[in-house]
Symmetry: C3
Subunit: 347 residues, 3 copies
Amino acid sequence: MHKTLKEIAQLIEGEIVGDAGVIITGVAGIKEAEAGDITFLANPKYASLLNSTAASAVIISKDTQAPQGKSVIRTENPSLAFAKIISLVLPEQIKYPQGIHPSAVIGKKVTLGKDVSVGPYAVIEDGTEIADKAVIYSGCFIGHDSKIGRQTLIYPNVSIRERSIIGSNVIIHSGTVVGSDGFGFVTVEGKHYKIPQVGIVEIEDDVEIGANVTIDRARFDKTVIGKGTKIDNLVQIAHNVVVGKNCLIVAQVGISGSTILGNNVILAGQVGLVGHISVGDNVIVTAQSGVSKSIAANSIVAGSPARASITQQKVVACSQQLPKFFDLVKDLKKRIEDLEQRLGKDK
Amino acid sequence: MHKTLKEIAQLIEGEIVGDAGVIITGVAGIKEAEAGDITFLANPKYASLLNSTAASAVIISKDTQAPQGKSVIRTENPSLAFAKIISLVLPEQIKYPQGIHPSAVIGKKVTLGKDVSVGPYAVIEDGTEIADKAVIYSGCFIGHDSKIGRQTLIYPNVSIRERSIIGSNVIIHSGTVVGSDGFGFVTVEGKHYKIPQVGIVEIEDDVEIGANVTIDRARFDKTVIGKGTKIDNLVQIAHNVVVGKNCLIVAQVGISGSTILGNNVILAGQVGLVGHISVGDNVIVTAQSGVSKSIAANSIVAGSPARASITQQKVVACSQQLPKFFDLVKDLKKRIEDLEQRLGKDK
Amino acid sequence: MHKTLKEIAQLIEGEIVGDAGVIITGVAGIKEAEAGDITFLANPKYASLLNSTAASAVIISKDTQAPQGKSVIRTENPSLAFAKIISLVLPEQIKYPQGIHPSAVIGKKVTLGKDVSVGPYAVIEDGTEIADKAVIYSGCFIGHDSKIGRQTLIYPNVSIRERSIIGSNVIIHSGTVVGSDGFGFVTVEGKHYKIPQVGIVEIEDDVEIGANVTIDRARFDKTVIGKGTKIDNLVQIAHNVVVGKNCLIVAQVGISGSTILGNNVILAGQVGLVGHISVGDNVIVTAQSGVSKSIAANSIVAGSPARASITQQKVVACSQQLPKFFDLVKDLKKRIEDLEQRLGKDK
């Protein structure tokens, strides 16, 4: 991206206050923005961030005061305007495969929509439906009777097992496995017998899944990733997990079987969740936490086992001081012994 | 699966007490079972579970009392009967590749058994032996001089490096890597020189390995996964590790080099083990624990660093109360100071 | 490797003290060495290790005293001599692909150096440059406009996205993904908008990357892995991370976005680092630690959150004793109450 603020203001039909010639090279959130970025302020309550942001320009609402010495664009709805910039302005520097490569193995009764691209050596088994404008890179495997939604993008060497349902505008990065068998066994006299995993995986629209992620198919029924959820690399989603909408699941998180996440949940890196629990809407779990019980909506939890974040912070602060504290108690013990001696052993 | 209890009773030659028309749609352990499932009770000691299980029917031994209002099948050996149901009754909803796809690259001196299937674009290097009924999906790589056992099933995009030995009835899920080089270097003046990893990996019969697992080849000698062991997704097994028989290794576990596991060991999710230690038979390590020392057989350990689980539970309970406890000690200190003042500074 | 000590001494132009006929079958560090290994002692300060090592022979400097009953080779520079043995003597037991397989898809304007090998069904997109003696195994994907350095070795089913730069003598193990999109979103009213990730990944010379690793491309600019750094399996490197030279990053480590590592940093298994911090040269982070703040050079840190290792050891020792300690404090409380009672409530 390389545009003047003027060009951007025209695109979003906004009014510039400041230097219309500022060059914008990127977009970012107001806290993360760096020089060259344009950002936005949706809520006038956080107007103080206008002074601290490193962004070169900010989109603000008509009733927000423009900060000193910073170029802004005023517009009715800054969030909407910003979303528009993200989706329209930023260039792609990648050339996708075009058309169906002659080496792609397309099974029987496969339905291919308009403008579908399939790279070399991709294998699409019988009975699969691929909607318009989907892109499937080389080396991908799409098992029989699967569905791939419109404009979905699947990078090289992804394996999607049979009967998976993938929505529209989904992105799946390389090496990811969707629909592998859940980890289910019955143990009879020390020997583990496999419980067939005959359910499926359903990925709703607008989901992005990182590289080398694993999402297991359900035992029966389905494992679900809700609309708009974004999953980072190397995440494990076990069988029968249901992830809500617009969640953020950071790298190396593991979610055990049958656990249910609400909407807008954030799981930070390397978090682990046991099976068969519920996590309410808007919950935040901080990095490396281990969640062993259900969590009420809107909570922030931390630690392993996870507790309310505010409690965990106090526990960590205390534990940091434990060695000093042990010394203090030893000193107190001596002083008590001294007092006891002075008062004599008798009552 | 969709059978009446009567049909199942005939299959296992058992006697029904209760409703022979109950529809059974699945199997599960007695604690995990849901409506529609059939389960079993091997040990009459746990007869109380018969009342709490949600299963629609239970297989019990001839000397176990049938519970009120629950359909059961009586049989000589409930475990055996249950295993029979699992292996015989449950349908598969997947269509495997059939035969050798013409695009598969089969090297020189490769031995293919009867009814072997190899998917499109699989690559099988020179000198490999593949036993009867093995199924190798598309995009798999089998390095030279490897052995794949009878009826072993390898899902798409698995990479098995040269000279690996894979037993019979093994299942390997997509994206898994077997036989990559161990992580071994000698550091000379800050520079790391690679120690060649010229050993192999041996996977014994009846092992299941999840998706995107990594199992490194040994430096010399071999890395071993024992018969009947089940490994979940995204697990790391380093060079020269020896895993015993019938272990359960849950997702995202990491086992460092040369560590040895006994039989029937359970490692819960995200556990880490340092290298060069031994873990005895039947040990259970709870989720996210970090094991830094060898563990005696039959222990349950927890925490990082891992301790006896019962100790760890007490430590966690105490740490939870640390902030309150710190306040208590501060109060005690004041009261001691007060006592000291009242008694005077002199002895 | 199977050589007499005499043969090795000739190779490194050293002088034998002891049995020239000892058979050497491997190399290892002095602490890890086993019978059959040759090792070396660079620093005479650690001469005591000469007595405890299990190695069959040791390379020592001319001014180090030869130990009793152990065969040694004296040479000017033991480190250099040892490095020579590692690089020259050890046999490879793997047969690499030879030449360009006719099924490899080579795009337009691809430059292939001398003696390049490309396995079956590899896909090399337009505009890529592959230097002399590089080996690319079957099923690999190399995105457009990438560069692969001289003698670099890429195992099966690796995915390298567009515009990546890979140096010389790099080794990348199977299933690894280089250049996947960084995890970057802007959240507008609960919905996550993708921030395009248009930067690249640059891997410098002599790097080794394990199996199923993920290294994300930068948002702008580049994610960098410094020369000589070695990365184990299942590691996550987020966008815009810069890793210094000669670092060791053990399995299942996760490094969050924009974090910067110095040179010779060691991150043990399952460590997690938050984003936007700096880790100084020679830092060691022990297994499973969670690093939430920048770390000064030459520190050893441990725990989650990570503290100075020595502090963490004390904290762990104290926490182990917490239950006993709680009992002690309860006893002290009683004794104080007793003292207070004896002295009376009045001041």
